[in-house]
């Protein structure tokens, strides 16, 4: 994989993004897309929930609850 060091201002801009980011040059030409990893906040929340080990639901139960909510 090719590694490119982002200048500080670009790195700062990227810090505030999530999911997929499209990079373009000054003329708007597409350079490619970048997938941002989960934020530190998301990781913290996931870790806390993991440690709490609460109960959960299966995928079928989750989808059924959504469908029930829609029909209400």
């Amino acid at each position: 994989m090719v590694q490119i060091v982002a200048p500080d201002d670009l790195a700062r801009q990227l810090e505030g993004t999530e999911g997929t980011v499209e990079l373009v040059d000054a003329n708007g030409n597409r350079l490619g897309t970048l997938t941002r990893p989960p934020s530190a906040e998301d990781v913290r929340i996931a870790s806390e929930r993991r440690a709490a080990d609460r109960s959960g639901m299966t995928t079928e139960e989750l989808v059924n609850r959504l469908n029930a909510a829609e029909s209400r």
Binding site: T20, P37, A46, T59, L66
Partner: protein, 149 residues
């Protein structure tokens, strides 16, 4: 095969994403795709984070999960909606997922494999860079993926 469990707190996150989504079908489809991928190969489906957590993207959502090998169980702890950056619309998220499903079925025949073994997330990822994806027919998607394969 692993059992996939969604943390109770994740329900409200999925529900909120589902309520806000341009395509509710896409959210439900992503939930099913994540379920399918994690049931089959939770290690291979995601990227390792830290503290025993992994993450996987399946537009329009991202899941952060952990694996309990002894119980053969995967638990999803966090869901986030993911969109294209800078407020741009995400054509894949708006795209009719059924077209992707059918194209995946065609690719399964081409690869000599069942549809369940072809990860639809992979097909989606392969075509996500096509700005005109929402204009593509099923056959055109198959051609694009074949070219990329």
């Amino acid at each position: 095969m692993y059992q996939v469990i969604w943390d109770d707190d994740v329900y409200s996150e999925v529900a909120s994403t589902w309520l806000d989504a341009k395509s509710r079908v896409a959210v439900i489809d992503a939930v099913h795709q994540i379920d399918e991928a994690l049931k089959r190969d939770p290690k291979g489906a995601g990227t390792v984070l830290s503290e025993g957590l992994l993450w996987v993207d399946c537009r329009p959502i991202r899941a952060i999960y952990s694996i309990d090998e002894s119980a053969k169980r995967v638990k999803v702890h966090r869901i986030r909606q993911i969109e294209a950056g800078n407020g741009r619309h995400n054509p894949v998220a708006e795209f009719d997922c059924n077209v992707i499903k059918r194209a995946t079925g065609d690719l399964g025949s081409w690869l000599g494999s069942s549809e369940s073994r072809i990860n639809r997330c992979w097909v989606t990822a392969t075509i996500q860079d096509c700005d005109d994806v929402y204009k593509l027919s099923r056959n055109q998607i198959v051609d694009r993926v074949r070219e990329a394969f």
